[in-house]
């Protein structure tokens, strides 16, 4: 994976599509145990990125990732804006001008997920996007050299999101509902999963 940033417009489009397609389901999840704004939050971010996707494809990965992080941070708002923003900014920061091989990506992604954990003061098992991000990061780190890793990423992401269904939320808005938070997949975990899968699909198709 030494893909160039020329991929970015396609990646952004794919992410936009999957959020659009699953908008009603995602909204229902955030309405059930959150406040229902997760999709509109994400869509503000996606719009901001779409508006500059050509410009992004002219940058190197480090600059592009940092720009994406800033755009997400300032357009999305809410919990997910600061967390997804942190994820991308930390990826850019940790890339340190290296070419983006799978191995480098795995290391950088793990560091970015660590930054998200710190920002959210959250761990795996608290019914958040981290229940998708952490297992995916671990899988990548352990299997960066295996050819089928990308397919495994998708399965891991889906399993991670599904696992949140029976969890008790202890972070984010859903935590206020206590036991009532069980029975629904976490909206942020689901959106993470959807976006990761969409990205993998673009990468494996090219």
């Amino acid at each position: 994976m030494t893909n160039s940033t020329a991929l970015l417009p396609n990646l952004i489009l794919a992410v936009a599509k999957t959020i659009e397609t699953n908008a009603d389901d995602l909204t229902a999840l955030d309405q059930a145990i959150g406040d229902g704004d997760h999709v509109t939050n994400l869509q503000r971010g996606i719009q901001a990125l779409a508006a500059q996707s050509e410009a992004l494809s002219q940058l190197d990965w480090q600059a592009a990732l940092q720009k994406i992080g800033m755009a997400v941070m300032s357009s999305v708002g809410g919990a997910s804006g600061s967390l997804y923003g942190t994820l991308f900014m930390a990826m850019g920061k940790n890339l340190q001008n290296r070419p983006l091989t799978i191995a480098v990506f795995a290391e950088v992604f793990m560091k970015a997920v660590e930054a998200v954990k710190q920002r959210g003061k959250a761990e795996r098992g608290e019914k958040t996007m981290l229940d998708v991000l952490i297992p995916v990061a671990e899988l990548l780190l352990q299997n960066a050299d295996q050819p089928e890793v990308l397919e495994q990423v998708k399965q891991t992401a889906i399993a991670g999101a599904d696992a949140t269904q029976n969890m008790l939320a202890t972070k984010g808005r859903a935590s206020f509902l206590g036991e009532r938070s069980r029975g629904y997949i976490d909206a942020g975990a689901k959106s993470s999963q959807l976006m990761i899968c969409a990205i993998v699909d673009v990468l494996t198709a090219t």
């Binding site: 909204t27 309405q31 145990i33 959150g34 406040d35 229902g36 704004d37 509109t40 939050n41 503000r44 941070m73 300032s74 357009s75 999305v76 708002g77 809410g78 919990a79 997910s80 804006g81 600061s82 967390l83 923003g85 942190t86 920002r119 959210g120 608290e126 202890t170 972070k171 984010g172 808005r173 935590s175 206020f176 509902l177 206590g178 009532r180």
Partner: protein, 329 residues
């Protein structure tokens, strides 16, 4: 969805434009990034207060920008935390060299975005985290939510800052009020977020949600609709057990409507809550009744109690001149 609205994507800025026009003597609205600030800046050398949070709680926070209260407020999208760039721009535009105090309601989104802003800011700043919602246990994994008690902190710390209190002093005062302030809310109906166009949750005609926050979310429990007396008894008991006020304690009693509950009912709740605490020997020194921290068009209300002392009363009484709170001038 029955609302006065042209476009769900632009209603927030259009409404803020109207707000700015209606109160052009008091405040100024910056659209990009979005913040509202005092028109007459504070004197140099004074601490400034910046708050913010999701919109839909009006008049909180924009209605409290003005002399003696907030210097700026950052409205996020409806029920969505604002972003760090708003907070940075607002803080930079109002700061007077003595630092900025952020008043932050304790929600993951608000906390994280204000944290990021704080880290990026290149001058002294501190934050007061408001967590007055006692429908959640003190031990809650994220801490308690910030609800209607926020305006009490904004008003009192705003007065202190106006009087020249330093940053550490303002923060300590805010933290202190937060510790002696407790709120509890009940929803009779859901609200409707414009972007979604339908009620956030379904609730039967003979049910209510007890222990709700201010984002139209479900509460701790769905229970059968009760009489006003029973509702107040239940809410006030939780608050009382949390604060454990002593006999003779002076209090500020604040009844807050969530948006669609008439004053007629809010004053009934006030009457019942006042009686509850008078019977326990407390002295109701100050009162505030009305729609101040709303959840759009939700029917419901919250009760907030703050234990007062001489300093807090004096600062509460100090002049304030904001769009939604004004006295002494």
């Amino acid at each position: 969805m029955k609302k006065f609205i042209d476009n769900v994507d632009t209603i927030l800025n259009e409404s803020l434009q109207g707000f700015a026009l209606a109160h052009s003597d008091l405040i100024e609205f910056n659209a990009e990034p979005r913040y509202v600030r005092r028109k007459m800046p504070k004197q140099p050398g004074k601490v400034v207060l910046v708050s913010g949070g999701g919109s839909g709680h009006e008049p909180l926070h924009t209605g409290f920008v003005g002399a003696g209260m907030l210097d700026a407020a950052c409205p996020g999208q409806i029920f969505t935390s604002p972003s760090p760039d708003q907070m940075l721009a607002a803080a930079q535009s109002v700061q007077q060299g003595a630092g900025v105090l952020f008043i932050v309601k304790n929600y993951a989104g608000d906390v994280m975005n204000f944290e990021i802003a704080s880290e990026m800011l290149d001058f002294p700043n501190a934050s007061v985290l408001v967590s007055d919602d006692v429908s959640l246990p003190k031990s809650h994994s994220t801490g308690r939510r910030g609800v209607a008690g926020t305006l009490i902190i904004e008003k009192i710390v705003g007065a202190a800052a106006e009087n020249g209190a330093g940053l550490a002093e303002c923060k300590a005062l805010g933290d202190r009020i937060n510790l002696v302030t407790a709120s509890m809310g009940i929803a009779l109906t859901s609200c409707t977020v414009p972007a979604l166009g339908k009620p956030t949750f379904a609730i039967d005609d003979n049910e209510m949600e007890i222990g709700v926050g201010i984002h139209g979310e479900r509460g701790q429990e769905t229970v059968p609709l009760k009489s006003a007396s029973e509702i107040v008894e239940r809410m006030a008991t939780v608050i009382d057990e949390d604060l454990q006020p002593k006999k003779g304690q002076e209090i500020l009693l604040h009844i807050n409507g969530f948006g669609a509950t008439p004053l007629l009912e809010l004053y009934l709740l006030y009457d019942l809550a006042a009686t509850f605490w008078q019977k326990r020997g407390l002295r109701i020194t100050r009162s505030l009744v009305g729609n101040f921290t709303t959840s759009l068009d939700m029917a419901g209300a919250s009760i907030t109690l703050t234990l007062l002392d001489e300093e807090l009363v004096r600062l509460w009484d100090a002049p304030v001149h904001a769009a939604a709170l004004r006295w002494g001038c």
